[in-house]
C-alpha cells in the first residue's frame, strides 16, 4: 500500500498549491536559462549572417562589435587581392532609432555590398536589394511588412525582403541597406552642419569609410594564414570568424552569463529551502501518524519512503508544470527564450537531487519520532 499517495490525496489542495509555487520558481529558473541561451544564440546571428571566414578591422581594435572600428572603404580591393581570398565585401554597422507609425523603432543597420560577402544568405520572404538606393531588408522581428516604407535619417526606404531571426546582441532587429545608403546614414552631415564645416575651411567629409571588411577564403586555405597576411598591413587587424564569435560572446554575453548564473543559483537555493520547509511542516503534521506506524511495526524504510516519495512527487510535478508554463509563455517574452531539451532535463535532474536532499530535514525528524508518543499518556 502506498502511503505517500494516500497522504497526498488527503492533503491534495495544500500539496498542489505547493507544487504550483514550486513550478513558478522553477519556471523562472528555466526562463533565466532560456534567456541566456537566447542571448548567446542571438548574439551570434549577426556575426554569422555574413557567412564570412575572416574579419578585417581597424588596427589595434577588436571591432566592429566589441569596439568601434573604421577603415577606408577601398581596403576591400586590397583584401580581395590577398592570396587565398575568394571574395571580400565591406560592411557598416550602426544603431538607429526612428519614429514609425507612431512608435519608436530601434534598429541595427548593416550596410553591405550586394553580391559580395556580407549579403544575407537566406531570406524568409521577398527579394534581395537590387536597386542601389532606398531599398532595405528588414528582420521579421522589426514587425515590418514587405512594401512598407520607413524613414531612416533623411531618406525613406522601402522594405523589399525579410530575414528571420537576425538581431543585434542587444536584441534590436537588424535591417540591411546597401553600403552606399548606410554610409550616407552614418557619415554624411546634415546640410547646415556640412555648410558650417565648409565655412570653417574643412574638406567635405570622406564618405567612403566602412567598419569592417569580411572575406571568404578559398577552399582548403587556412583562415589563420590569410589573417596573418592581412595583419601585416600596419593599419589593419584581422580576426577569423571563430575569433570574432569568441570575442562577441566574451564581451556581450559573459556578464549576462554570470548574472544569470547567479540568479539561477539563488533561485535554486530558494527552491531548496522552500521544499525543505514544506516537507518539514508536512512531516510535523504527521508526527502522530508516524509514531503510530512505528508502533504497529512499520520499518524505517516505510517511513523514509513516505517522505521521500512526496518530495520526489513535488519535484516532478513542480518541474513539469514549470516547464509547461514556460513552453506556453515563451513567445510572450520581450527577449527570445531558447528552451533546450538538455537544459530542461538537467534542471529536472537537479530538482530531483534537491528534493531528496531537502527531504533530509523531514526524514531526520521522522526517524527521531518515538513510537511511544502514539500512546495516550
Amino acid at each position: 500500500m502506498n502511503l505517500a499517495v494516500r497522504d497526498v490525496r488527503h492533503n491534495l489542495g495544500r500539496f498542489l498549491l505547493t507544487c504550483l509555487g514550486l513550478s513558478l520558481l522553477l519556471g523562472v529558473v528555466l526562463s533565466m536559462i532560456g534567456i541566456y541561451r537566447g542571448l548567446v544564440d542571438e548574439a551570434l546571428t549577426l556575426v554569422r549572417s555574413p557567412g564570412a571566414d575572416l574579419w578585417i578591422v581597424e588596427s589595434g581594435t577588436r571591432g566592429p562589435f566589441a569596439e568601434a572600428s573604421r577603415i577606408p572603404g577601398d581596403e576591400r580591393d586590397a583584401v580581395a587581392r590577398l592570396a587565398g581570398v575568394a571574395a571580400a565585401g565591406s560592411l557598416t554597422f550602426q544603431s538607429v532609432e526612428t519614429a514609425h507609425r507612431g512608435r519608436t523603432l530601434r534598429l541595427y543597420v548593416v550596410g553591405y555590398e550586394p553580391g559580395r560577402p556580407g549579403e544575407p544568405k537566406r531570406l524568409a520572404a521577398g527579394r534581395l536589394i537590387t536597386r542601389s538606393h532606398y531599398e532595405m531588408l528588414a528582420d521579421r522581428r522589426a514587425g515590418l511588412e514587405i512594401g512598407e516604407r520607413v524613414r531612416l535619417g533623411r531618406d525613406v526606404y522601402e522594405v523589399v525582403g525579410l530575414t528571420d531571426g537576425v538581431v543585434a546582441s542587444g536584441g534590436d532587429p537588424v535591417v540591411h541597406l546597401t553600403l552606399r545608403d548606410s554610409q550616407r546614414l552614418q557619415f554624411e552631415l546634415d546640410p547646415p552642419a556640412a555648410r558650417r564645416e565648409l565655412a570653417r575651411g574643412g574638406r567635405p567629409a570622406g564618405l567612403d569609410t566602412v567598419n569592417a571588411v569580411v572575406a571568404r577564403v578559398l577552399p582548403g586555405v587556412p583562415e589563420a594564414r590569410v589573417a596573418a597576411e592581412a595583419a601585416r598591413w600596419k593599419h589593419l587587424a584581422a580576426l577569423t570568424q571563430g575569433e570574432q564569435e569568441g570575442l562577441l560572446l566574451k564581451s556581450v554575453v559573459e556578464k549576462a552569463r554570470r548574472q544569470i548564473g547567479l540568479f539561477t543559483a539563488i533561485l535554486m537555493a530558494v527552491s531548496a529551502v522552500v521544499i525543505a520547509l514544506i516537507l518539514y511542516t508536512l512531516t510535523m503534521d504527521k508526527v502522530k501518524a508516524i509514531a503510530t506506524l512505528k508502533l504497529i511495526g512499520a520499518p524505517d524504510r516505510t517511513i523514509v519512503a513516505l517522505i521521500v516519495q512526496q518530495a520526489l512527487a513535488m519535484g516532478v510535478i513542480g518541474w513539469s508544470a514549470g516547464t509547461l508554463l514556460i513552453l506556453l509563455a515563451k513567445d510572450h517574452f520581450p527577449r527570445r527564450l531558447l528552451l533546450l531539451p538538455d537544459d530542461a532535463l538537467m534542471l529536472g535532474a537537479a530538482v530531483l537531487v534537491l528534493c531528496v536532499v531537502a527531504s533530509g530535514l523531514g526524514v531526520r525528524l521522522a526517524l527521531k519520532v518515538d513510537p511511544a508518543t502514539a500512546l495516550g499518556g
Binding site: H10, T292, L293, I296, G297, P299, L375, G376
Partner: protein, 229 residues
C-alpha cells in the same frame, strides 16, 4: 494453568538519572494468562502507561525479566534484536485516542497492519473487510477516520490491533472517548477476543463503570502494585 502469555519478574523502570530520576515503576511482578482480561487501575502518574509500554517493548526496562508468549525477551537487557518484528507479530495496540492514520480509510487502516506483516494487497483487503464486518463497522470501511463516530473509530482501531492475530492485546484507556453503552460493548468485544483467540488482554482505565468486567485488576500507586498481580 497454562504458561502465562505475559510474565514480569522484578521489572522496574526509572526515567532519567540522579536528581531528576523518576521511578515510574518499582519492582513489579505480573502474570497474564491466555483468555484473561486484566485491568490496570490507578491514579494519573502511577505508572500504568509505563507498564503497558514496557510490555509492548516500546520502552526499555531498567532491570528485571520479561517473558512474552513463552519467550524471554528481556533479562536485564533485550534478548531479541528485532523488537519491531515482535511488535508486529505478537502485540496489538489499542490507543486512548484511537490513533487511526487520518489519510487512510477505515479498511486501509486495518490493511496497512497486514501489509506491514507481508500479507499481499488483495488478501490484506479481504481480511481487513472481514475484521471490520466482525466488529460491525463493515459498512464504514470506505470512510476516512474524520467521518467516523468515536465508537466506530475505536472499533476500527481494535480491528487494526487484531489484524495480525496478536496473542497480547494492550489497550490504553480504550473507552475514554466513549459513552457508557459503547464502553460496555468494547469491553464485551475484548472479552470475546480473549476467549476466542486465547489472547491476553491488558486494559488501562480510569473508567469505574467497567471495573467489574475484569478477570482481575492490578492497582498501581506510585509505581508500585497495590493489589492483584
Amino acid at each position: 494453568m497454562a504458561t502465562p502469555l505475559v510474565e514480569l519478574r522484578g521489572i522496574a523502570k526509572t526515567y532519567g538519572s540522579g536528581e531528576a530520576a523518576v521511578h515510574a515503576l518499582k519492582d513489579t511482578d505480573l502474570r497474564v494468562y491466555p483468555g484473561q482480561v486484566v485491568g490496570l487501575l490507578g491514579p494519573s502518574g502511577s505508572g500504568k502507561t509505563t507498564l503497558l509500554n514496557l510490555i509492548g517493548c516500546i520502552v526499555e526496562p531498567t532491570r528485571g525479566r520479561m517473558d512474552l508468549d513463552g519467550e524471554t525477551v528481556y533479562d536485564n537487557r533485550w534478548l531479541k534484536s528485532d523488537l519491531r518484528r515482535l511488535r508486529l507479530e505478537k502485540i496489538g495496540f489499542i490507543f486512548q485516542f484511537h490513533n487511526l492514520l487520518p489519510f487512510l480509510t477505515a479498511e486501509e487502516n486495518v490493511a496497512v497492519a497486514l501489509d506491514l506483516a507481508g500479507v499481499s494487497g488483495a488478501e490484506a483487503r479481504r481480511r481487513a473487510r472481514a475484521l471490520l464486518d466482525y466488529l460491525e463497522v463493515g459498512h464504514r470501511r470506505a470512510s476516512l477516520p474524520s467521518r467516523l463516530s468515536g465508537g466506530e473509530a475505536q472499533r476500527v482501531a481494535i480491528a487494526r490491533a487484531l489484524a495480525n492475530r496478536p496473542r497480547i492485546i494492550l489497550a490504553d484507556e480504550p473507552t475514554a472517548a466513549l459513552d457508557s453503552g459503547r464502553a460496555g460493548m468494547v469491553m464485551d468485544l475484548l472479552r470475546r477476543l480473549a476467549l476466542e483467540q486465547r489472547a491476553a488482554v491488558l486494559v488501562v482505565t480510569h473508567d469505574e463503570t467497567i471495573f467489574g468486567r475484569f478477570d482481575h485488576a492490578v492497582s498501581l500507586r506510585d509505581g508500585q502494585v497495590e493489589a492483584g498481580g
